[in-house]
Amino acid sequence: MADLAALTMPKLGLAMTEGQVASWHREEGDVIAAGEEIADIETPKITAAYESPAGGTLRRKVVAPGETVPVGALIGVLAEPAAEEAEIDAFIAEWQARFAASAAAEGPAAPEPERIETPFGPIQVLETGPADGKPLVLIHGFGGDLLTFFLLQPLLTERYRALALDLPGHGGSTKTLPGADPASLAAVVSAVMSARGMKPAHLLGHSLGGAIALALAEAEPERVSALTLVSPAGLGPEINGDYIAGFIAARRPRELTSLLATLFAGGQSLITREMIEGVLRYKRLDGVTAALTAIAAANMPEGRQAKSFRHLLADAARPVQIAWGRQDRIIPAMHAEGLPAHVRVSIFEDAGHMAHMEKAADLARLLES
């Protein structure tokens, strides 16, 4: 029997249960390389490219563009050119029968965020991975929430006990800030780590979350075993002040759509209605505008970053890696230049400000190595 490989609907994020093949990039009969982007997958949350898990000839598209199927369902078949059509039909039939049987037996539910009480008020967290995994804390950026890691976090569950949190003023956490500077917000991260029994942890911070991770390393160095910084604030003065002001002011879906497009190298194609609606709903909550305004004023007054943590990276004892999209239009990737040699820098040429979403798999590999 010829070598046949199943292409299946990927699980993009913790909560994804089904997805749509938005379009196929390749035709039946085309020779595909492993890792090649051969289709676009769309969910209400995101549109993402589907990388072929193997090489071979695309012999069959099982799912037509526009069709929605459950995660794990067969969407296409790779095979050698020599494989018989009947052989492929049989493979599909057997595969579908097996999938139907396994779908009937329900898998474990997706982990749910929970709210924990801290001295700073309720904080929403989402924990994944084994209890004895390496502790990892995921800190989002300005105007974001823990869902920003919905693609990355599920990729880390083998090795890490990963805890993502909503900062004060964000997501499902209290909208009352203990203070708007990185040190005040870092104190909240520290309190969450204490509440969860995470003594020293690897901190992964995105954007403002990077500056908060650095501030925690400065205030309580013993709590921070390693740092991964994705497009971090705190390494240089430049920042896109128009984006920050626009994000605070935006009320209509269209304004927000074009604004959020500046986050991604791919522009607007990655942005879904649900993403926009989610941000608008967040911004309508009592206290959010005041919190965002205070954070912007404290951290990036007049379109410049207020505080640099560059000096902290001189300490070679703690592993530090930095990931940045070359096409970042919020904080320029040049802030990753001129750092001490022990800092490992990874630049993604075709990513923007959201490498943890745009390059989730690559970033996960960096965390595994």
Partner: protein
């Protein structure tokens, strides 16, 4: 996030605003119920249970049952609003406005303007509207066009539980009289509603679908029907934008004009009687301001100009439906292209 019903969403909005602001009070017929009868306190919580649980929490000082005298308690609420409270009065069925309309349109609506801008009237009147409840002609009307006609009133018609909570909180915080329309068959509709308070500003339309062929404007319960119609039409290759203005006064005509500018076609769905309703108003404004953008005549989907029938089969036939909306959209799509203006 928890799923909540339309009823729970409004109850939560009232409770959170009453927690936040001690001047917020509720009044109306049976908003608590059972006054003076042992063991019957809070028996009703409004005719359909929307205010249930609020009297035990806030006491009869802030949640008080009124006599069956709309003229008295709506007038009382207008006066209370002008003198420092933020009353939320329950007019029960909007069909009852006939006996208290002077208090609304000659008094509450005029205070800000006739007292030289020195008075504010933070009054909310909650009221049930709409057909489909087998409640016959005197309890099924959609009288929001009449309130929309009166300058000085704000008119809110939420289309889902999420919308209802945010719009109710805005209504209570607003310094002008607001008429808040609750469709009586939507109370058990459920969706995810945040636990925290939030506001949805008035005069900002919500886009529920984006499509380039045709714009469908719908209000209240009709929004869900319009979305269903949009999904039917999508399978036929017709891409529609569905737009919910949320409030008829103020009306986000700018968003409607912008959308019609892109699609060139407009269908307006309104459950109110077809003469002088929101469909005629929106159609007139678009015809006046965006005539050159139109590729086909505007279509309006409304019930016939008759009292709401009591017969269930006639009532069902009377109402707009997703199928009727889809049929109107198809008719607009098939209309011969209008010759472009020279």
């Amino acid at each position: 996030m928890a799923k909540k019903s339309f009823r729970q969403a409004i109850n939560e909005a009232l409770r959170q605003e009453m927690d936040r602001d001690p001047t917020v009070v509720l009044m109306g017929e049976d908003v608590a119920g059972g006054a003076g009868a042992p063991g019957e306190d809070d028996a009703w919580g409004g005719p359909l249970g929307v205010t249930k649980g609020l009297m035990p929490r806030f006491g009869r000082e802030r949640v008080f049952d009124t006599p069956i005298t709309e003229s008295a308690f709506i007038g009382c609420a207008a006066g209370a609003a002008a003198t420092g409270l933020r009353p939320v009065a329950d007019l029960m069925f909007v069909d009852f406005m006939g006996v208290c309309f002077d208090q609304i349109f000659n008094q509450a609506a005029k205070f800000r303007y006739m007292f030289g801008g020195k008075a504010k009237t933070p009054l909310v009147i909650r009221t049930m509207y709409g057909a489909g409840f087998r409640a016959a002609s005197q309890h099924s009307q959609c009288l929001y066009p009449i309130f929309t006609h009166i300058p000085g009133l704000k008119v809110v018609i939420p289309s889902s539980p999420y919308e209802a909570k945010g719009l109710m909180i805005q209504a209570i915080r607003d310094d002008d009289p607001v008429i808040f329309f609750e469709h009586k068959v939507m109370y058990d509709d459920e969706e995810e509603v945040p636990d925290e308070p939030y506001v949805i500003p008035f005069g900002e339309a919500n886009f529920l679908r984006d499509g380039e062929d045709v714009t469908i404007v719908a209000l209240g319960r009709m929004v869900k029907f319009a979305v269903q119609a949009s999904d039917i039409l999508e399978k036929e290759g017709i891409e529609s934008t569905v737009l919910d203005p949320r409030t008829t006064s103020p009306l986000d005509i700018a968003s409607i004009l912008e959308s019609v500018g892109e699609t060139g076609r407009l269908v307006v769905v309104d459950e109110a009687s077809p003469r002088c309703n929101m469909a005629t108003d929106i159609s007139a404004q678009v015809a006046e301001q965006a005539f050159d953008a139109l590729k086909a005549p505007i279509r309006m989907v409304s019930p016939p100009h008759v009292p709401v029938p009591f017969s269930p089969s006639l009532e069902d036939e009377f109402l707009p439906s997703p199928e009727k909306i889809a049929a109107s959209v198809r008719a607009v799509m098939e209309a011969p292209a209008r010759r472009a203006a020279a």
